[in-house]
Symmetry: C2
Subunit: 333 residues, 2 copies
């Protein structure tokens, strides 16, 4: 991968929180502008599930494939130049076909499942995979314990992938639960990634089903509040729409405005600054945080890097302010 | 599948013991000449193993694919018009590539493994699969418990597939063990298939690594001895060679003659009659059993059916003799 990191950023460590497509895009931009190894991405695993007897991690894989530049940009998930021979063949054996696992993608699920059945943690599995794919950034699952997002809808409770893929988000959202979250633990790798970060970025991911599961890991929220580094959010809502996925539909069904302001209100005291799209500059005044307005729509590597650069520079400017007005920090362990 | 069973065989139930390719070929012939459902094949599972975290049953699948006419006749294993996208992709992740699982084949392994992890027995899994593939014959794994063929060689002990595929049978055979056999149980399905059979056929499979593991299941040998139905063996050795696989090499390394006579001596008192190839008719006198000489080389459906017809007619002629001179039979449970 061509390294084109920005010289001024040589000392900067960035930790990003991400879900699927939107998060992965900004992570690619950050990886592009930072020195190799300077980026850590903490990824939602609430939408992991078992399919064909395999341990499937949709968000982890989207981030992994994007950072390895082997993702499929048209589909938004899975691999480039993918084939579906196994999926087609599954039809003979009554295997579920609503979740479309491609042949290349399948190799990764097989390997991960084999390792996990041998007792290797999801963190270690993920690290092996990213090294094998030549990804210089660290990718951390939000926890090693199983946490499963359950979508409460007007048609009953649905595991996330059933809501998201099988039912195409059609049922009306009532509420969300993150099953097993109370038993999850903040890993040492996550603690280190947060404590050593010069900047934390909340990627433009769905606040309810990508960011909230990460924040549901006990200790995650407190750790984020405690660290000195500025925390910057990037809006997943542009001009009253979600660029990808059901964030806007969910906001409407939860009785919220479809607006970056809703995201800021939702993440509340976790953020030190917020990035909204230039199309939404009228909303700046409604955001009760330092705000950067810029073009946030990422269509190619250049626009991903551009947004990443703007976010990092904005964050660093707040960092300077942080340094000028230090506040009491709880002790970290 | 075109049913072309021989009218005289409408009342006949045949149970065959089989390993891989040779056994599967004769099973196809038997299925062709018998009414639907009249054939049961008891299949070696000693060469089953775990690969890519999946439960792989090479002999069961060879029999299954052959009986479903979706086997690959050129390779002798796996599926027709197969692709290897997943296998190729495994290279990225350091997954073993010496055992070539194709994409279509993989769908079956995934489904079987998923069911077995849910607690479904191998017998039930196999029955589901053969129904889904439209196979009219019953296919029974020799047992539901794991039995693993271990090959003792001059280079140390090797699990069967490592000896057979990875090492291409190169090490010199010293001895064989069937790990776990003492804990295996004769299933009710196997008991029924033997007790109700009008004829038992030992297919032209390797006596050491295809037939012996089946006979290692406690009670199998006694049950076979006890039943009234005649038991016919078909030689896997023709003209001093094995038609497929390492049977001849194994005989040499064990200090035996490469001859149908060695097979008869090995299976000993289990057989009531033996079928040898017309090329070996000089050896008839050395065989201490009623013998049929015929063309045993199966190159197409017609020659498979021809051999099957000859074997069944030969068996029935012995059955008539059996009926004329009944011997005391131990009681069966």
């Amino acid at each position: 991968m061509l390294s084109s990191f920005t010289p001024g950023f040589t000392q900067i460590r960035v930790t990003a929180l991400a879900g699927g497509v939107g998060g992965a895009k900004l992570a690619v931009g950050l990886q592009q502008i930072l020195p190799p190894g300077a980026l850590t991405v903490i990824v939602n695993t609430g939408d992991d599930f078992e399919h064909w007897g395999l341990h499937v991690c949709p968000d982890l894989d989207t981030v992994l494939y994007n950072l390895a530049t082997i993702n499929n940009p048209e589909m938004g998930w899975g691999r480039q130049e993918e084939k579906f021979t196994v999926l087609d063949e599954m039809d003979r054996y009554g295997g579920d076909q609503w979740f479309r696992i491609g042949d290349k993608d399948l190799a990764l699920h097989l390997r991960r499942t084999e390792w996990m059945r041998q007792g290797v943690s999801l963190s270690e599995v993920t690290d092996r995979l990213r090294r094998m794919l030549g990804v210089p950034s660290t990718i951390l699952p939000m926890c090693n314990e199983p946490v499963r997002t359950l979508v409460h809808t007007d048609e009953g409770d649905l595991p996330f992938q059933h809501y998201f893929v099988r039912r195409r988000c059609e049922p009306t959202l009532v509420d969300l639960s993150f099953l097993g979250a109370e038993r999850a633990k903040l890993s040492n790798e996550i603690k280190r990634a947060l404590d050593r970060a010069d900047l934390v970025v909340f990627c433009p991911s769905n606040p309810y089903v990508s960011i909230d599961p990460i924040l549901a890991v006990p200790g995650m929220r407190d750790r984020l509040c405690a660290i000195k580094a500025p925390k910057i959010g990037v809006s997943p809502i542009v001009s009253g729409q979600a660029l990808k996925g059901p964030a806007a539909k969910m906001m409407r069904e939860l009785g919220e405005m479809i607006s970056p302001v809703t995201v800021v209100d939702h993440l509340g005291d976790l953020l030190d600054g917020f990035v909204i799209d230039a199309q939404d500059r009228d909303l700046c005044e409604a955001v009760i945080l330092p705000t950067l307005t810029t073009d946030t729509i990422m269509v190619d590597l250049e626009s991903k890097a551009e947004l990443a650069r703007a976010v990092v520079e904005f964050g660093l400017s707040l960092h300077a302010n942080h340094m000028l007005s230090p506040i009491d920090q709880p002790s970290l362990q």
